[in-house]
């Protein structure tokens, strides 16, 4: 695997392979010395044109556990914030001798542009591009679902037959996009729920079902309910009238939580707006696997970095 730009590049075998590899990486964390020297001497550049402390730290931890050196460029306090272009920044870090770039960028397709360019020949891992994709989030979500479902017997399994409902601002969500296509590859069925304004045009051509009624979706008894973060600037852009109305219609509140089956997984990519798209009770309930998602993120990112950095003359 030269790059990871989109989950749509992954076929079933590859996707399951990454999840299996992440299992091995998770085992490392349980050892006396939770660190490997596998990528010793290799350098990973975290290039964050958009602030995301969580994702950045997760990639940093993953790279370090594999023994790689990490350098970080973030939007704040660097030339990135002074309008330096992707090309100039990429060429600058290329000149420093970088083996992989972990790129977070506000523009959709930025990772693809970087990978297709001749500015740099390092491996590119998409850590979120605009409203397009966030492949490692999709992978860690799938991993979390599989692990919660199958525990130690997870290896080799797909998500065949799993029913996942994703709720909220689908239109602007890279997490939703990566989940939709990865879950489809893994054999799960996906249902998208949100106000019509936040369901993308042409959604009928996506491999999903969709609707606007969260209560109806909950009544179907999904195996997973994934709540997406809703941003208040969407309200100002007239996607919905008011936060209270949003919470009432599409929030996972206590009443809706009570109607979920006891083994329904509640997921959220974080950071959460408690009281808006998810109630505190839901976020902290036994059904919630939100913290597992964070833990698993490191294992998934270790697996991905290993795959893009270990291959030589493949």
């Amino acid at each position: 695997m030269k790059h990871l730009l989109s989950v749509r590049e992954l076929d079933l075998a590859t996707a399951v392979g990454i999840l299996d590899l992440a299992e091995d990486m998770a085992d490392v964390a349980t050892r006396a010395v939770p660190k490997l020297a596998t990528l010793r001497g290799r350098t990973v550049a975290n290039l964050f044109f958009e602030d995301s402390t969580r994702t950045r730290l997760s990639f940093e931890a993953a790279a370090k556990r594999l023994g790689a050196d990490v350098i970080t460029f973030t939007a704040k306090g660097s030339s990135v914030s002074k309008g330096e272009s992707l090309k100039d920044t990429a060429q600058t870090i290329a000149a420093m001798g970088i083996d992989a770039v972990v790129l977070r960028h506000p523009a959709s397709g930025a990772a693809r542009v970087l990978a297709d360019s001749e500015w740099i020949d390092a491996a590119v891992v998409n850590a979120g591009d605009g409203t397009h994709e966030h492949p490692t989030q999709g992978l860690l979500d799938a991993y979390t679902m599989r692990k919660t479902l199958h525990g130690d017997a997870s290896r080799g399994r797909s998500l065949d037959g799993l029913r996942v409902t994703i709720v909220g601002d689908i239109l602007h969500s890279r997490v939703a996009r990566s989940n939709v296509w990865l879950l489809q590859t893994l054999g799960a069925s996906v249902h998208l729920v949100g106000p019509e304004t936040l369901l993308p045009l042409g959604i009928e051509r996506w491999p999903v079902s969709s609707g606007t009624d969260l209560d109806a979706a909950i009544a179907e008894g999904p195996d997973v309910v994934m709540m997406l973060r809703v941003q208040s600037e969407r309200m100002r852009a007239a996607f919905f009238p008011h936060e209270r109305e949003y919470a009432r219609q599409w929030g996972l509140d206590d009443a809706r939580l009570a109607r979920l089956a006891p083994d329904t997984m509640v997921m959220h990519p974080g950071p959460m707006n408690r009281g808006l798209e998810i109630s505190s009770a839901a976020a902290d309930s036994a059904r919630s696997v939100v913290l597992d998602q964070v833990t698993n993120g490191v294992s998934i990112r270790m697996a991905v970095l290993y795959l893009v950095l270990s291959g030589g003359a493949a």
Binding site: T38, Y306, S310, A313
Partner: protein, 186 residues
């Protein structure tokens, strides 16, 4: 590219039985003994040796799996290898005698990686090495404690180990390598 059979099924069984006896003898019994097979065929051989040990001294054949992929020094030179799981028996390896089991000993680099992997897992009392075939051409100061068969080879030759569990037959053969690169059997 004619292949020449050097060990038949009976030879392999005999060699493994002898190795099991030697392990017990050198360990002065079966206490605190762990066999760690190196995937893929080393694991199968470790299980067979473990089964023999169990017959000789019931309960002595504790077997685990040790993947060394993440410790290799040739990751950049080779296509991406998919690691196998590492499975350490309950109780860990601290204070135990660990016997590494692999099919072929060649350059010694795999064993070097295995020693690093063990180092990350804990601190055994001693580490020993058992191999079915030692073909020579070491690149590191490593030797096996228990050897099924010493097999002098040329670098251009290739050792092919087949085991019933994966290949449907037990067999060790030598053939001319189509290219003389030193591939996976290190």
């Amino acid at each position: 590219m004619a292949a020449r059979t050097v060990l038949q099924q009976a030879d392999i069984t005999r060699a493994l039985t002898r190795i099991a006896h030697e392990i017990l003898e050198s360990n002065q019994g079966s206490s605190d003994l762990i066999l760690l097979g190196i995937p893929t065929r080393g694991v199968l051989l470790a299980r067979r040796i473990g089964a023999i040990l169990d017959e000789l001294e019931p309960g002595s054949g504790t077997v685990g799996e040790l993947d060394v992929t993440m410790y290799r020094d040739d990751l950049r030179a080779q296509p991406t290898r998919t690691p196998s799981p590492t499975r350490v028996p309950v109780g860990g390896i601290d204070g135990k005698t660990v016997v590494l089991v692999d099919d072929v000993l060649y350059s010694g680099r795999t064993i070097r990686a295995a020693l690093d992997a063990i180092n990350d897992l804990g601190r055994p009392r001693a580490v020993r090495l058992a191999v079915l075939v030692d073909r020579g051409h070491r690149e590191l100061p490593i030797r096996a404690d228990f050897v099924g068969k010493n097999l002098p080879t040329a670098v251009a030759e290739r050792i092919n180990v087949k085991l019933f569990e994966t290949d449907g037959e037990d067999l060790v053969a030598i053939s001319e390598s189509p290219t003389s690169d030193r591939d996976g059997r290190a």
